[in-house]
C-alpha cells in the first residue's frame, strides 16, 4: 500500500516528516518498505506572478512578461513563448541559476535580442506531465517568490507500507492516519471537499462514537441502524434494485446521480491520485478511486443508460454465463461467483471487475453508484478462479468496514457532484437484510499483565485502545471493548492485548532473562543420527552438499507434484544420487576434477495404493585424486578407484546403518549392497555412468538409508599383554573362490588364536596356474593368556591350510 505524506497531512491537519512517519509505522503498526520522495528536483522553482504581458519586439510568437517572483530587486523581465500566458496569473518560475529536472541549468541570455531572466515553465519542463502546449497555470494563494514545492502539492513522499493480510483498515489513508494519530497525537478529520456541499437527501445512519469523532455521522445512536430490515429489494430514482444473493453481498447500497458531465478531474484530485501512482481517468472514476484510497470503500460507478431495463440485480452467476471485463477478456462465470446484472445479463463481476459495456464513458450522464460489502471468501474464490484481481477485490477479500458504508457513499456522492456535477434526487437505497453490530470483547487487565509480563495501567489500556477507535466500558471487573467494524482482525481478548502492546511499543517491554523450567521433549533421534553421519563423512574428507529435492521422475514410485513450477521439477527425489551426479557434472563444467560430495537429505516414495513415504537418505559421490598432490611425490597421484569406494561405503554404512553388512551385489549389479540382518537391502555402492569430460576420473557413488537406531555403546576389550606371532602366507585360489570364503574357513579351522588376517598382495601371472590367482595374507596369532610357542603357531596354521585345501582347493604357493 502506497500512501502519500501530503494526503496524510490533510487528514491529520498537521505537517509530517516522512522519515518519522515511516519509523513510527514500522515500530507500532506495520513495516514501511520504502519512503520515496516525489519531485525532489523542483527545489529551485518559485511561484511567479505575471504582472504584465507585452509583445516581443522581434518575434511574433514570443511575449515579454514582467514577473513578480518576490525578489528584492522588484519584478524581472522574462521572455515567454507560451500562448496561454496572461497577466495577473501565477505560474512556476525558474530563476537564473536554477536547475530543472533533467539537469538544465538556466542562464541569463538574450532571446531575439531581448534579455530573459529565467523562464516560466510548462508541466513537461517540470517533469509533471506531458503537457507542453503552454505553461502551467497555478491555482495557489501562495505569495510570489514562495517555493513551488511548498505551494503546490507535487513535492510529496510516497510511503510504501507492507500491510499484513489481517489489517484491511490500513489500505486507506484514513486508516493509516488513525494509527499515526494514536502514536503521534492528534485527530483525524476528513478534509472538506473543494466546492462540495452536503448532497440533497439524507443517508443511512450508522457508526459509533469513534466514527463520529473521525468526522463521520454525528453520534447519536451508537448502534448501527437497520435501515431496511429484511428487505432485499427496492427502487431508487427509477432504478429497481434486487438483492438475490445476500450471502454474497450482505449489504448493498445504490445511489443514482443524474446529469453528470464526464470530464477530466480538477488538478487537486489528479494530483492526489498521481501522488500514490494511480493514473487519473475521468472525474467520476477518479472520485470513486479517491474514496477507495481515502476510506477503503470500493465503489463502482456505471452508466445507467447502458442498463437493460433500468434494473440492478445482485445474484449468483448462471453456469457458463459470460462477461467481457474491462481488460477486454471474455470470462466464463460459475454459480460460485456473485454478479451484478441488469434485467438481462451480468454487467459486473461483484467486487472484482466491471464490464466494458457498462463502463462510464464521456457520453455518460446518469450514474448508478454501487457501494457494497461483498463476502470475503466469495471474492477470494472468484479472484482465484478467474486469476483476476483488482484494488477492489484485494480489499473485499480482506474485509471492509460494513458499518462505514453510508458515510463513504455520502462522501463519494458529495465528491462526484463537486467534480462532475449532477444531482442526487433520492437518498441511496440500503439493502441490508441482516444488519450487524459492532462486536464486543471482554478484556481482563490482569490478563494483559500476565501475558505481557509487565503490568499496564487500566487508564493506559483505555487510552491506547480508544485512540484507534475501540470503545471501552468497565463491566464486572473487566473491560467491555466494542470493536470498530473496520477491524475484522480483532476477535478475541488476545487481539486487544496485542493492540496494547504494539501501541505502547514492543521496545517498552524489558528483555531480561527470567527462570524457566526445562522441557519434556527429548532430542529427536533423527537429528542425532544425521549429525553423527555428517560428522563421520566430513572426517573422511567429504564436502557436504545440499541439492534440490525437486526434479525429473526417478522410477514409477516417484512422488508427483500436482502443481509444479515446471515440468522438469515435477517430482520429488526418490534417491539422492541422481541429484548429486548432476552436481558432479556441474563441477566438471567448472573444471573441478577432484569432487567428493555427500548429502544427508529427505527422499520420498509412493507406491500405488499406499501413502507417501519419506525418510532420510545418505549419499556420496567420489571422483578424482585419492589425496591432494604433493611436490615430493611427482606430478600424478593415483585416482580414487573401486576400493576407495568400498571403504567409503563401509564407513558410511557403519555410520548410517550400524549392524548392516556390506556384500558384493548380485544379479548383474556391479558394486556392493548394504544388507540388514533380515536380508533387506538398505544401501548400494558402485561405479556411476555420467556425462564426463575426457579428463575426468572415474565416478563412484553410494547411498544408504539412515537408520534411527544409534550404535550400541562400545564394550571395552582388554588390551593384549602377550606378544603376537606373525606369519605371512601366500595362497593360490582357484577361480570362483573369494577372499571372504578363505577368511571364513581359516578363521573356523584355526579358531580364536587367529587374531588378525589381512590381505597384503594379489598376484596373477607366471607361477600361478591359469584361472587362478595368488593372494597373500599377513596373519597374526595370539593367545590372551600366554606366549605362544612357535610350534603351536605352525600347527595352528597347518590346520587352517589343510582345511583350505580340503574345502576350497586352496593351496599354499610354492617357493
Amino acid at each position: 500500500m502506497i500512501v502519500s505524506r501530503r494526503w496524510l497531512e490533510a487528514l491529520l491537519g498537521r505537517p509530517l516528516d516522512a522519515r518519522e512517519v515511516a519509523e513510527r509505522l514500522t515500530m507500532h503498526v506495520a513495516a514501511v518498505d520504502a519512503v520515496v520522495p516525489l519531485h525532489p528536483d523542483l527545489g529551485d522553482v518559485l511561484i511567479g506572478r505575471v504582472l504584465e504581458v507585452k509583445k516581443h519586439p522581434n518575434a511574433d510568437r514570443l511575449s515579454l512578461c514582467r514577473v513578480d517572483a518576490g525578489g528584492a530587486g522588484g519584478p524581472v523581465e522574462v521572455v515567454c513563448g507560451a500562448p496561454n500566458v496572461q497577466a495577473g496569473k501565477t505560474y512556476p518560475y525558474a530563476p537564473v541559476g536554477a536547475t530543472l529536472p533533467g539537469g538544465l541549468k538556466l542562464e541569463r541570455r538574450k532571446i531575439r535580442g531581448v534579455e530573459s531572466n529565467g523562464m516560466l515553465c510548462s508541466a513537461k519542463e517540470l517533469g509533471l506531465g506531458e503537457d507542453h502546449a503552454g505553461i502551467l497555470e497555478l491555482d495557489t494563494a501562495a505569495p510570489p517568490g514562495s517555493r513551488f514545492v511548498d505551494a503546490v502539492p507535487v513535492a510529496d513522499h510516497q510511503i510504501v507500507i507492507d500491510v499484513p493480510a489481517n489489517r484491511p483498515d490500513l489500505l486507506c489513508h484514513k486508516g493509516v492516519a488513525r494509527e499515526l494519530a494514536a502514536v503521534l497525537g492528534g485527530t483525524v478529520k476528513l478534509p472538506p471537499i473543494a466546492g462540495g456541499a452536503a448532497p440533497a437527501g439524507g443517508t443511512a445512519r450508522g457508526g459509533s462514537a469513534a466514527r463520529a469523532a473521525e468526522g463521520g455521522v454525528p453520534a447519536g445512536r451508537r448502534r448501527a441502524s437497520a435501515p431496511s430490515g429484511r428487505v432485499t429489494s427496492g427502487v431508487v430514482d427509477g432504478v429497481e434494485v434486487r438483492l438475490e444473493d445476500p450471502e454474497g453481498a450482505p449489504r448493498y447500497m445504490i445511489a443514482v446521480i443524474r446529469g453528470v458531465k464526464v470530464a477530466p478531474s480538477p488538478g487537486w484530485l489528479t494530483g492526489r491520485l498521481s501522488s500514490i501512482g494511480q493514473r487519473p481517468i475521468n472525474n467520476v472514476v477518479d472520485a470513486t478511486n479517491y474514496i477507495l484510497f481515502e476510506l477503503n470503500q470500493p465503489l463502482h460507478a456505471f452508466d445507467l443508460a447502458r442498463l437493460n431495463g433500468s434494473a440492478v440485480v445482485v445474484r449468483r452467476a448462471k453456469p457458463g454465463e459470460k462477461i467481457v471485463t474491462l481488460d477486454g477478456l471474455t470470462r466464463t462465470l460459475t454459480p460460485d461467483m456473485t454478479t451484478i446484472c441488469d434485467a438481462k445479463r451480468p454487467t459486473i463481476i461483484a467486487g472484482v471487475m466491471g464490464s466494458a459495456d457498462s463502463e462510464v464513458s464521456p457520453a455518460t450522464t446518469d450514474l448508478v453508484l454501487e457501494c457494497a460489502y461483498f463476502q470475503p471468501t466469495r471474492i477470494r474464490r472468484t479472484r482465484r478462479a478467474l486469476e483476476l484481481s483488482s484494488e477492489s477485490s484485494y480489499r473485499f477479500e480482506r474485509g471492509i468496514d460494513m458499518l462505514g458504508m453510508p458515510d463513504a457513499l455520502r462522501r463519494a456522492i458529495e465528491l462526484i457532484v463537486a467534480v462532475a456535477g449532477g444531482e442526487l434526487r433520492e437518498p441511496p437505497l440500503d439493502l441490508w437484510p441482516e444488519p450487524q453490530q459492532e462486536k464486543t470483547i471482554f478484556l481482563r487487565p490482569e490478563r494483559v499483565a500476565h501475558l505481557l509480563g509487565m503490568p499496564v495501567e487500566p487508564g493506559e489500556i483505555e487510552r491506547r485502545l480508544t485512540a484507534v477507535g475501540f470503545f471501552l466500558a468497565p463491566k464486572d471487573g473487566r473491560l467491555a471493548v466494542q470493536v470498530p467494524a473496520w477491524r475484522p482482525d480483532v476477535t478475541r481478548e488476545v487481539d486487544l492485548i496485542e493492540e496494547v502492546a504494539r501501541l505502547k511499543g514492543y521496545d517498552a517491554f524489558p528483555d531480561e532473562l527470567r527462570p524457566y523450567r526445562p522441557g519434556t521433549v527429548p532430542d529427536a533421534p533423527e537429528e542425532q543420527a544425521r549429525a553423527r553421519v555428517r560428522q563421520g563423512l566430513v572426517r573422511l574428507g567429504l564436502l557436504e552438499a545440499r541439492t534440490m529435492p525437486l526434479g525429473p521422475p526417478d522410477g514409477p514410485d516417484s512422488v508427483t507434484i500436482l502443481n509444479p513450477l515446471s515440468a522438469e521439477d515435477a517430482h520429488l527425489r526418490r534417491r539422492l544420487l541422481p541429484g548429486l551426479m548432476r552436481r558432479v557434472e556441474y563441477n566438471w563444467a567448472n573444471r573441478n576434477r577432484d569432487i567428493r560430495l555427500f548429502e544427508v537429505g529427505t527422499v520420498f516414495r509412493k507406491e500405488s495404493g499406499s501413502p507417501v513415504e519419506e525418510w532420510t537418505s545418505v549419499a556420496a559421490v567420489l571422483t578424482g585424486a585419492r589425496r591432494p598432490p604433493h611436490w615430493s611425490e611427482g606430478a600424478k597421484l593415483p585416482d580414487m578407484d573401486i576400493w576407495d569406494l568400498k571403504h567409503h561405503f563401509e564407513l558410511a554404512v557403519d555410520l548410517a546403518a550400524p549392524g548392516c553388512t556390506v556384500e558384493p551385489a548380485t544379479g548383474g549389479e556391479s558394486g556392493w549392497v548394504a544388507v540388514q540382518r533380515g536380508g533387506e537391502v538398505v544401501g548400494r555402492a558402485g561405479p556411476l555412468e555420467a556425462d564426463a569430460p575426457v579428463w575426468a576420473a572415474p565416478l563412484f557413488g553410494l547411498e544408504v538409508r539412515l537408520a534411527l537406531t544409534g550404535r550400541a555403546p562400545v564394550v571395552y576389550r582388554p588390551l593384549p599383554v602377550q606378544p603376537p606371532a606373525e606369519r605371512d602366507v601366500a595362497l593360490v585360489l582357484p577361480g570362483g573362490v573369494s577372499a571372504a570364503q578363505v577368511a571364513a574357513v581359516l578363521q573356523r579351522a584355526v579358531g580364536p588364536l587367529l587374531e588378525r588376517f589381512d590381505v597384503f598382495d594379489e598376484y596373477r601371472g607366471p607361477g600361478i596356474p591359469a584361472g587362478h590367482r595368488g593372494v597373500a595374507w599377513h596373519c597374526s596369532f595370539r593367545d590372551p593368556e600366554r606366549t605362544l610357542r612357535e610350534a603351536e603357531v605352525d600347527a595352528a596354521l597347518a590346520r587352517g591350510l589343510a582345511a583350505l585345501e580340503d574345502e576350497l582347493g586352496v593351496r599354499r604357493r610354492e617357493g
Binding site: R502, L597, R627
Partner: protein, 342 residues
C-alpha cells in the same frame, strides 16, 4: 688368552668409528661386531668357555664390558641419526606441506547447528517432523483461516488432495504440542517448500528453524529476552535488537525481530536498504487458538514461537548475494566454508 685380549683391544679401537658412521655403515658395524653368528665380539664370547678357568673370568668380563660399550655407542649413534633425519636444517620451509583432503559441513548446516546450539544453552532440544504434511498441520491447526489471504504468502506444492509439502516448520509445533505435555522448549530445524521460482533471492526449497516454548506463565518479556539473548550470542554481545509488530495467524501478539545491520553496524548501507536493521525472524506469543487446537488450555498455558531462515542469515553474515550458490554445490564454494585450503 693373550690373543683374545689383543683382539678385544683391537676391537675397542673401532668404537671410534661409530660416532662418524652413517646409517648404512652403522648397520654394517653392528653386524660385524655384534652379529648373532659372525659378529667379532660374539665369536670371542663364544670362545670364552674354552679357556682355562683362570683366564676365563678375565676375558669374559672384558668381552662383556666391551659388548655393552658397543651396544651403548651404536644406540646413541642411532638416536643421533634419527634426530638428524627429522631436522629441518637446509630445507626450504616455504615449500608446501603434504595435505589430505579436508571435508566440511555445508554452510547452512553449520549455521543451523550454531543456532540450535545457542538455543540448547537456553534449554531447547531439537525436534523434527515430516516434510509432506496435511493441511490441518500446515495451516488450520495453526489458526490459518480457510480461504484467507494469509494463505497467499504460503503458496504451496500439493502432492494430493490433503497432502502438501510443508511451507514452514510450524506444523511441528502442532505435532510437538500433541505429543508432549508442557513445559515444552524445542527448536525445529528442517527443509520447507514454497512455490517460488528459483532466483538470486528465492528458492523453492529452503531451510528453516522453528522454535517453541510453552509453559505456565511465559510472557512477552520471556519471549523478547530469549530471542534477544540468542541474537547477542549469535552476532555480538553489543548487537542492538528491536521488535516490531507483524502478523502471523499462529502468534498473537506477533513480532518481527530485527538486529542491527552487521555490515554497516546500523549506519545504513545497501544491504539493509539504509535502515540500519536486518530482519532476522518472525515470531510472537503462541496464539491461544493454536494451544486449544492441540488440547492445551490457553488460560493455563502460554508461550512463544518463532521461525527463521538460516540460509538468509548466512547470506547476510557471510556476504553471499545469491541463494542459488547454496544448492549448486560447487566444490570451490563448499571448500571456502570447510576451513581448508582445498
Amino acid at each position: 688368552m693373550r690373543d683374545l685380549l689383543a683382539a678385544l683391544a683391537e676391537l675397542r679401537e673401532r668404537l671410534q668409528e661409530i660416532p662418524q658412521a652413517d646409517e648404512r655403515r652403522l648397520h654394517d658395524l653392528k653386524t660385524e661386531i655384534l652379529g648373532r653368528k659372525a659378529g667379532a665380539l660374539t665369536q670371542i664370547l663364544g670362545r670364552v668357555p674354552t679357556l682355562d678357568p683362570s683366564s676365563r673370568k678375565e676375558v669374559g668380563a672384558a668381552a662383556n664390558a666391551l659388548k655393552l660399550e658397543f651396544a651403548a655407542a651404536i644406540a646413541a649413534r642411532e638416536r643421533e641419526l634419527k634426530r638428524a633425519a627429522g631436522s629441518v636444517a637446509g630445507l626450504d620451509l616455504t615449500m608446501p606441506g603434504r595435505a589430505v583432503w579436508r571435508g566440511g559441513l555445508h554452510l547452512v548446516t553449520q549455521v543451523v547447528d550454531e543456532i540450535c546450539d545457542i538455543f540448547r544453552e537456553l534449554g531447547f532440544t531439537r525436534a523434527v517432523g515430516p516434510e509432506a504434511e496435511t493441511e490441518r498441520y500446515n495451516f488450520f491447526a495453526l489458526n490459518f483461516p480457510k480461504d484467507h489471504p494469509a494463505l497467499d504468502a504460503q503458496d504451496s506444492f500439493y502432492l494430493g488432495d490433503d497432502l502438501l509439502l510443508r511451507t514452514h516448520t510450524s506444523p511441528v509445533q502442532i505435532r510437538t504440542l500433541e505429543r508432549y505435555p508442557p513445559p515444552i522448549r524445542v527448536v525445529i530445524p528442517g527443509q520447507v517448500y514454497r512455490r517460488d521460482p528459483f532466483d538470486a533471492s528465492h528458492s523453492p526449497v529452503f531451510e528453516q528453524i522453528e522454535g517453541l516454548a510453552v509453559d505456565e506463565g511465559i510472557s512477552f518479556v520471556d519471549f523478547k529476552a530469549t530471542l534477544a539473548t540468542f541474537a547477542r550470542r549469535f552476532f555480538t554481545a553489543d548487537t542492538r535488537v528491536r521488535f516490531r509488530p507483524s502478523f502471523f495467524p499462529f502468534t498473537e501478539p506477533s513480532a518481527e525481530m530485527d538486529v542491527q545491520c552487521q555490515i554497516c553496524k546500523g549506519v545504513g548501507c545497501a544491504t539493509c536498504k539504509q535502515t540500519g536493521w536486518m530482519e532476522i525472524l518472525g515470531s510472537g506469543m503462541v496464539h491461544p487458538a493454536v494451544l486449544e487446537n492441540c488440547g492445551v488450555s490457553s488460560e493455563r498455558y502460554s508461550g512463544f514461537a518463532w521461525g527463521m531462515g538460516p540460509a538468509r542469515i548466512a547470506m547476510t553474515r557471510h556476504g553471499i548475494a545469491d541463494i542459488r550458490l547454496f544448492y549448486e554445490s560447487d566444490v570451490r564454494f563448499l571448500a571456502q566454508f570447510a576451513g581448508g585450503v582445498r
